[in-house]
C-alpha cells in the first residue's frame, strides 16, 4: 500500500524535471523574450490596471494609492451628461460612414484591378494608390486644406469657374463628415486592396474556365466565383473593422476639429484628450476611455461569434 503511494507520488517527478531541463535549455530564448515582455507589461498592462482610476477621484499629487475611491460616480455622470450623448452620436455616425462608404471600396477596387490584364498597368496602379497610406494624417489633412481653402484653393476656384458659390469646407459643420470620409478613402482605399488581391490570386483558374464554358460573362464570373472565394477574407476584415468601432483615429479628427464644427466633429477620443489632459479631469475621461475600450472588445467578440455561427473561421 505504502509502495503504491510512493510510486504515485513519484510519477510526476520525472515530468517536472523534464520541464526544468527544457526551461534551462531554452534559457537564452527567455532572455530574448524579456525586453518585449517588459514592454507589454509596462506600456500595455499597467495602463489596463490604471483603468481603475475611473473608479477614483484621481489627484495627480496624491497618486494612484492615495486617491479616493468613488465607485461608479464618473460612469453615472457619463450617462447623464448631454455632452456625452453628443460625442457618442458623432462617434457612431463616423463609424457607420466608415462601414458604409469606406469598407466596400477596397473590395470593389480589388475586383476591378483583377480584371486588368496588363501587368505593367497593374503594378503602376498599385504603386500609386498605396502611396497615401504612408503619409501621416497631418500630411493628408494639410494637402486637403491647401486644396479646399476658400482662399485660393483649387476646389473652390473650380466651383467658382463652373458658376457655383464657394464652400467653406473647413469651417462648416455640414462638410465635416464628407471631408472626413473622403480623406479616409483617399488615404486607405488603395492599401486596403492588398489583402483582397492576395485572396483573389489564390482562386483556382479552372473555376473561371468552367464558368466561361457555361456561358458566364465577366460580371457573372465575379459574382459567382470571385466574390464567394474571398468571402471569408471579407468577413475577417469586417470583424476587425467592427472591433475598431470607436477607433476612428484621434489624429485625423483632432486635425479637422475647430470651434465651428466642434458639435459634429467631437468624438470620444478627442473628448478624452481635451477633458483629460487639457482640463485635468483624469478620472472622468478615463471612465469614458474605459467605456470605449470595453464596447470595442464586446463588439469584436460578438462579431467573431456571429462569423463562426455563419460557418466562417473568425479571427481567433
Amino acid at each position: 500500500m505504502q509502495e503504491t503511494v510512493i510510486q504515485q507520488a513519484r510519477v510526476p517527478q520525472p515530468r517536472t524535471s523534464e520541464l526544468k531541463k527544457r526551461l534551462w535549455k531554452n534559457k537564452l530564448l527567455y532572455v530574448m523574450l524579456l525586453p518585449g515582455i517588459f514592454y507589454f507589461i509596462i506600456f500595455k498592462y499597467i495602463p489596463m490596471f490604471g483603468l481603475t482610476i475611473a473608479f477614483q477621484d484621481y489627484k495627480p499629487f496624491k497618486g494612484f494609492g492615495g486617491s479616493e475611491w468613488v465607485g461608479f460616480k464618473h460612469f453615472e455622470r457619463l450617462f447623464t451628461e448631454p455632452d456625452f450623448l453628443n460625442i457618442l452620436t458623432n462617434t457612431l455616425l463616423l463609424f457607420g460612414m466608415n462601414l458604409l462608404f469606406y469598407f466596400p471600396v477596397p473590395i470593389i477596387l480589388a475586383l476591378m484591378l483583377n480584371e486588368v490584364r496588363t501587368s505593367f498597368f497593374k503594378r503602376t496602379f498599385q504603386t500609386l494608390v498605396y502611396l497615401p497610406h504612408f503619409m501621416s494624417w497631418v500630411i493628408i489633412v494639410s494637402i486637403s486644406f491647401v486644396m479646399l481653402t476658400s482662399d485660393g484653393g483649387i476646389v473652390n476656384e473650380l466651383l467658382v469657374y463652373f458658376g457655383f458659390e464657394k464652400i467653406n469646407f473647413l469651417l462648416s459643420p455640414e462638410w465635416f463628415r464628407p471631408t472626413y470620409i473622403l480623406q479616409v478613402i483617399w488615404r486607405e482605399a488603395g492599401w486596403g486592396t492588398i489583402i483582397y488581391l492576395a485572396a483573389i490570386a489564390s482562386v483556382d483558374p479552372g473555376l473561371y474556365e468552367a464558368a466561361r464554358m457555361d456561358g458566364a460573362g465577366r460580371l457573372r464570373q465575379v459574382w459567382h466565383i470571385t466574390l464567394p472565394a474571398i468571402r471569408s477574407v471579407i468577413i475577417i476584415l469586417l470583424i476587425l473593422k467592427i472591433g475598431d468601432v470607436l477607433e476612428l483615429g484621434f489624429e485625423h479628427v483632432y486635425l479637422l476639429i475647430n470651434s465651428m464644427n466642434r458639435d459634429v466633429a467631437e468624438i470620444i477620443d478627442t473628448y478624452v484628450y481635451t477633458a483629460g489632459l487639457r482640463q485635468g479631469q483624469f478620472s472622468y475621461s478615463t471612465a469614458i476611455g474605459f467605456f470605449k475600450s470595453f464596447i470595442g472588445l464586446v463588439l469584436v467578440m460578438g462579431a467573431n461569434r456571429l462569423a463562426k455561427k455563419m460557418g466562417e473561421e473568425g479571427v481567433y
Binding site: 523574450l33 507589454f40 506600456f43 494624417w137 494639410s142 469651417l171 475600450s293
Partner: protein, 291 residues
C-alpha cells in the same frame, strides 16, 4: 485567363481601365499639385491656381522656410527619432518574435495571448499618459520611442516569417555549437531580409509620422518633430480656431510656403518608398492573412 475578344468583353476592359486610371490620377494629382506649387512663386500660384509643371520656377518658398532654423531643427528631431526608434524597435521586435517562433518554447501560447489581447483591449489615453509620466519620460525624446517600441501587429508578421524558416537549418547550427543568439543573428535574420525590409519600413514610417506622442509628451516647442510643426503652419493657419497660438504680427503663410513645408515633411517617405515597395505587399500579406 484568356483574353476576351468579344465586343462586350472589350468594352468592359476599356471602361474598367479608364475608371482605374482616373482613380490613380485622383490619388496622385494632389501630391503633384503640392510639389509643383512649392517650386513656383506665390504670384504665379495666385494666377494659375492649379499647377502640375511650374512655368516660372522659384525656390522662394524653400528659402523662406529655411530662413530660420525651425524647420531644420524639426527635421533633425524627426530624423533622429526615426533612426534610433527604428533600430530599437527592430531589435526588440526581432528578439521577441524569434523567441515566440520557436515551437519548443514552454509558455509561448500564453505570451502570444497576452500580446494579441493588447490589440483588442487597451488602457487608453489617460492611464498610458500617467505611466509615461511616472517613468519620467515627459519632455524627452525617449517618450516618442519607448512607449511605442513594439507593435503587436509587426511582431506577429515577423514571428510568422521566422516560423517558415526550415527548422533543420537551426538544428544543424545548434549542432555546430551555435547558441540561440547566434542562430538568430547569423541564420534567421539573414534569411528574413524581405520581412526585415518590410517591418523596418513600417516602423520608420510610423516614427517619421509621429504626431500624437509628440503632442502628448512634449511641452517644449523646441523639441517638436516635423509633423507637429507642419500642423502648426498649415492646419492652424487656415483653421482659424487656434491661430492665437501663432504670433499675431506674422501674416499667415501663403500657399507656396505651406506647400513647401508639406513637401519637406513628405520627402523622406517619397525617397525610401520605391526601394522598399517591392517587399511590402509580400510582407503585409504574410501578416494579415495568417496573423
Amino acid at each position: 485567363m484568356v483574353e476576351d475578344k468579344t465586343l462586350s468583353g472589350r468594352l468592359f476592359q476599356i471602361v474598367n481601365f479608364t475608371l482605374l486610371a482616373i482613380i490613380a490620377l485622383v490619388t496622385v494629382l494632389p501630391f503633384l499639385h503640392v510639389v509643383a506649387g512649392s517650386f513656383t512663386t506665390s504670384a504665379e500660384m495666385a494666377v494659375k491656381k492649379f499647377i502640375l509643371v511650374p512655368t516660372i520656377w522659384s525656390l522662394d518658398a524653400y528659402k523662406f522656410i529655411f530662413s530660420t532654423d525651425t524647420i531644420f531643427r524639426a527635421m533633425a528631431v524627426s530624423s533622429g527619432v526615426t533612426l534610433f526608434g527604428t533600430a530599437f524597435s527592430m531589435f526588440t521586435t526581432a528578439l521577441m518574435a524569434y523567441g515566440l517562433s520557436r515551437r519548443d518554447l514552454d509558455g509561448r501560447k500564453a505570451i502570444m495571448f497576452l500580446v494579441v489581447f493588447t490589440m483588442l483591449f487597451s488602457g487608453g489615453l489617460i492611464p498610458t499618459f500617467l505611466v509615461v509620466k511616472e517613468m519620467g519620460l515627459i519632455n524627452s525624446y525617449a517618450a516618442l520611442v519607448i512607449p511605442s517600441a513594439i507593435s503587436a501587429f509587426n511582431l506577429i508578421i515577423m514571428k510568422n516569417f521566422f516560423q517558415n524558416i526550415p527548422e533543420g537549418l537551426e538544428e544543424s547550427a545548434k549542432i555546430d555549437g551555435c547558441n540561440d543568439f547566434g542562430i538568430l543573428f547569423r541564420i534567421v535574420l539573414p534569411l528574413s531580409m524581405p520581412a526585415i525590409a518590410t517591418i523596418s519600413l513600417f516602423y520608420a514610417v510610423t516614427y517619421w509620422n509621429t504626431y500624437l506622442s509628440a503632442i502628448l509628451y512634449l511641452d517644449d516647442s523646441a523639441k517638436w518633430p516635423i509633423q507637429v510643426l507642419l500642423r502648426q503652419i498649415v492646419v492652424l493657419a487656415s483653421g482659424m480656431d487656434y491661430s492665437s497660438n501663432l504670433d499675431a504680427a506674422v501674416p499667415p503663410p501663403d500657399q507656396t510656403v505651406k506647400m513647401a513645408v508639406i513637401v519637406v515633411a513628405t520627402l523622406p517617405i517619397l525617397i525610401v518608398y520605391p526601394f522598399l515597395q517591392k517587399h511590402f505587399s509580400k510582407g503585409a500579406m504574410l501578416g494579415s492573412i495568417k496573423g
